[in-house]
Subunit: 362 residues, 2 copies
Amino acid sequence: MSTIYDVAHRAGVSPKTVSRVLNGDGPVGEKTREAVEAAMRELGYVRSNAARMMRAQKSGIIGLITGAISTRNQPSTQQGLPDLYIVQGIQRALESSGMTVMIADTAGRNDRVPHLIDTFLSHRVEGLIYVAEYHQEVNLPQLPDDTPLVLANCYDSRGTPSVVPDDRRLQADLVRRLIASGHRRIAYLSLRPDMAAGRLRPQGYRDALAEAGLPFDPALLVHVDFDQPEIGPQLLWDTIDRMLRLPEPPSVLCCGNDQMAMMVYGILRSMGRRVPDEIGVAGFDNYRAIAETLFPPLTTVELPYNAIGARAGERLMHLISGEGRDDHSPVLVAGPVHWRASVIELRPENVVTFRTLREESK
Amino acid sequence: MSTIYDVAHRAGVSPKTVSRVLNGDGPVGEKTREAVEAAMRELGYVRSNAARMMRAQKSGIIGLITGAISTRNQPSTQQGLPDLYIVQGIQRALESSGMTVMIADTAGRNDRVPHLIDTFLSHRVEGLIYVAEYHQEVNLPQLPDDTPLVLANCYDSRGTPSVVPDDRRLQADLVRRLIASGHRRIAYLSLRPDMAAGRLRPQGYRDALAEAGLPFDPALLVHVDFDQPEIGPQLLWDTIDRMLRLPEPPSVLCCGNDQMAMMVYGILRSMGRRVPDEIGVAGFDNYRAIAETLFPPLTTVELPYNAIGARAGERLMHLISGEGRDDHSPVLVAGPVHWRASVIELRPENVVTFRTLREESK
DNA sequence: CGATGTCATGACACCGATGTCATGACATCG
DNA sequence: CGATGTCATGACATCGGTGTCATGACATCG
């Protein structure tokens, strides 16, 4: 691969002049510039980042650590693929900054993280983002002070800047919407409580009930470890069966995430219950490959992983440029409810009223 | 960030000695080594890749270009997330080589590819892999001769080394298995024929029929653009409806991929047809988040994207090390059929026989 | 005991780009 | 017309490692 010396030689100028053409800084004569550009073209010259970075002491690289790429093979496929969307959002946010994003994958092994961090440091990254697969607490090794770090979809006890989903509020928004549609007996099938989502979402569910003055019925809130290898579906079946036999059965099953909702569809079907006429189903995540393809399409709330990534990217850029509000509190991100055919409006008259009102107000 | 000079100064030795400790090449006295290691630890020294790479003229970086990360937001979610698994396989294959994999994302815009290639070249990558989202022909800009390139999940007309799925054989394997289970009227709902998968898979379907001496009925092979925004589901419904009204309706619906199969589940359900008793459904991809979670679980054939990635990684390493068979033919990758509850065995007696035979042979 | 070999270490150049400073050719101004 | 300023360009040092060669201290051998 050719160097500026090759280019300089061919154009009959000094390397420094080539550098000037490359960077457009110092003044360069018109003819000289053309000669240099021609030489670069002819040689297929591409600037070496290594050399440039050595002088500049800036790598222009942002390091991204994630399990997004290698974790999907796990037996329990759990959530959708949140971390992937987060990575996407980060890329989008950093695109305009001219930074190169370097992605390293944990390959599902958290013990590799320190090694990955070292690799990144050896590339002198200007900042690091750690993306967790699901909302959780993490504990990363300490970084050198001059390398800023942002946590996405996770947080730690050291107050490292982080961006996380507002699970509680999202779930409350969805349940509010169900209540507004006339549903009164709303069941909640929660994820395991050792996950942040399994704690915060039920809280949001209860928030919405309380707001509406509806009683909280413990029989309608169950944690189901639905993605356990063998017995998961059975656990889910039993739970639903029990709920449907209650004196006052629920009119909607709110699921911990969209994948659980997909499984619930199958179970209700083989129980002979029709969705949504006999019983509604709602999800969480707006994992579109599922929510839009299921039949009927799934009502769910969008956890905007893209936005989480974007916010994390922005936050990191702020840290790097130093223009920081040194605000250490986590950034909470929420998203919209997607109302689809898996839940019926128990008060169609209201909808008519609303529509009528809007028509009238035109 | 500290340098070997800092370390050398602190340990009271020359930079060269520090370098020797780092690389373990030249002889170093026991006490000296300890002193240097202590100094490195105290300073939190991390070697600069830029400087090292400059001398060594080797970056130790492999460039990966993919849309895996940013394409998921498309309205039509089409396939699963193949490219992601491919990236995973590549990482696994390259892990042991000590190479750092740098991933760049097209952000869904193919016009960005040349820019990404330039960025990679400026980092002096030792090789490049281009990963396509689905099996297709591509046309990348020419690379400098000294930078090897491997295409994964795609191919070009220049004979660039490539690794692609053996769609034809995979589909044939699945259909063979259906035939072996006693199915005779097998419908095939194909993807659009402008995709490689929409051409090769139907061929495999016909191969298997021909082998078994079964007639090919054009009424049972239809291309359905099922993931079209609005009308997709309707198209699929109409097609299935037409097939089920045939004088001799199919006993299994073979779908172009798992996501189409998921949609077919919903449609059959609302038609009041039970899976698998009244009609079987088979997919393609073994997209586990769907295949294993659907109820009943989906019979499908595994397109081992991981393996495609792994093979691509290996092929690139061969090209880099030069120990090449300069074999320009594409590498075809196949995978196993996963037999699940979405298709019944029409000849249970055979299964009993097999089992009995195995029991007896013990 | 002198010649030769091995070991531990350092001096120095070099990789490719770029910041600093210098230089020569002109243009402008008092 | 000489002083000063601007423009286009080049010489040289430098970034942080590492390859090459040199050097001094010992050990070994004939």
